[in-house]
Structures are given as structure tokens and as C-alpha cells.
């Protein structure tokens, strides 16, 4: 049910690919934030976030991505989302985040 998020990190050429599985919600968001920030700072590469198995995200989760984008931009890197599920893509559109991120 709730509170489960698996984050798998993998280096692909000039990018870091992060695969997310589970839910980013009140139970998982703090830990995820720290993990994500570390990945960005440690690698200083473009970020690919694969959401094929991400079932749910709330506004806190979306906010973490916004903050992550600011961080990535400091290193002149970008963040691209892959395989967003419909219910999550919907939230990106509602909030206008589809315009600041690259969504594939």
C-alpha cells in the first residue's frame, strides 16, 4: 500500500537514470528528497527519471522535482521524465510542470 518507494540509480553515458517504483507521498518524500539531491550533486549530469513503475505522486513530490530542477540548472543540466503514467502526467499538466520539464 502506501509508503513504499524504490529508487534505482544507473549511469548511462552522460546521464544518470533514476528508476522509481512505488509512491512518492507523505511517507516517502523526505527520504526521496535527500536521495535525489545527493544524486544530482554527486554526479552533476543530466537526469533521466523513469516513472514506469511510479504509481502515485503528491504535490510534495512534485515540489521536490521543482527544487531538483533548480539544483540541476546550477550545473547547467536538465531533467527529463520517461514513461509517466496517465494519472501522473495529468498532475504535471494541471500544475503546469509539463512546461518546465522535458517529458518523453
Amino acid at each position: 500500500m502506501t509508503g513504499e518507494l524504490k529508487v534505482v540509480e544507473e549511469i548511462i553515458n552522460d546521464s544518470v537514470k533514476i528508476s522509481l517504483k512505488g509512491e512518492i507521498d507523505i511517507c516517502t518524500s523526505n527520504e526521496f528528497k535527500e536521495k535525489l539531491y545527493k544524486i544530482i550533486d554527486a554526479n552533476q549530469k543530466d537526469l533521466l527519471i523513469d516513472c514506469k513503475e511510479l504509481d502515485y505522486i503528491d504535490s510534495t513530490g512534485l515540489g521536490i522535482f521543482v527544487a531538483a530542477l533548480k539544483k540541476a540548472k546550477q550545473y547547467e543540466k536538465k531533467i527529463t521524465f520517461l514513461n509517466l503514467k496517465d494519472n501522473i502526467k495529468k498532475l504535471f499538466i494541471i500544475t503546469g510542470l509539463d512546461k518546465i520539464f522535458q517529458i518523453n
Binding site: C27, D58, T60, L97
Partner: protein
């Protein structure tokens, strides 16, 4: 049909999913389709998460009231600690506010009474 279901939950992240479950059970009864039920759950989760994050010094739980009409679900949040009011800041919480406004039909972020917040969704009959 004009029923009220109430759920009292501790200020703990673990119970947000209980609110979601009750929401889907109730919304399912009214006849909302799965996608709309998902929307209602997402909107309710936003509120519960915010309430849990704020918490209260005076009490350790909050209440969710589900009012059911034949064609409408109204969800009201309240708390003994009436300092819990206008919990969403349109600026800082823009993402959450956008999501709630888009997914629900009517969101009262600051109610004129002692409630924390209320939101509702009307069943659209596709003929």
C-alpha cells in the same frame, strides 16, 4: 440518500491511506467511475498530508466528514484545534492548490465556519 460518514484519524502519515480507502469506498457507492475516484483520493491525500504535517499542540487527531448525496460527495475536514484554518497558502502551496482545484468541483480553502477546509465533487451522468 443523504448519508454522513465520519472518520477520525491521528496526525500520522500512516493513516492517510485509511482516509483514501474510505474515500474510495464512499465515492464508489455514489457511482463515480474509477478515474474520478482516483482524483478524489488524490485531492483528499493532499489535505490529509498537509494537516498531518502541521499537526496540533492541543489534540492528536482530526476528523474527515464525508457527506453523500445522491449525486455528490462533500468532504469536510475539521479539528478540535480551530487554529487549523486556511492551511494552504496559495503562494507556497500552489502545486497542492492547483491539484485540488483541478480535480474537485468546489474547494473552499478557508471556510467561514470552524471547519479546516471542504471540497466536493458532483457525479456527472453520462447519458
Amino acid at each position: 440518500m443523504n448519508d454522513a460518514i465520519e472518520l477520525i484519524l491521528p496526525f500520522k502519515a500512516e493513516y492517510v491511506s485509511t482516509a483514501r480507502l474510505v474515500a474510495s469506498s464512499v465515492a464508489n457507492r455514489i457511482g463515480f467511475d474509477i478515474e474520478v475516484i482516483e482524483d478524489i483520493k488524490v485531492a483528499i491525500s493532499e489535505v490529509c498530508s498537509k494537516i498531518v504535517n502541521i499537526g496540533s499542540k492541543f489534540t492528536d487527531n482530526y476528523k474527515i466528514i464525508f457527506n453523500i448525496n445522491k449525486k455528490e460527495i462533500k468532504v469536510t475536514f475539521c479539528c478540535e484545534d480551530t487554529s487549523l484554518k486556511c492551511i494552504f497558502d496559495p503562494q507556497n502551496d500552489r502545486l497542492a492548490v492547483d491539484i485540488m482545484n483541478a480535480l474537485m468541483d468546489n474547494v473552499e480553502l478557508c471556510t467561514s465556519n470552524n471547519y479546516i477546509l471542504s471540497m466536493s465533487k458532483v457525479l456527472e451522468e453520462n447519458i
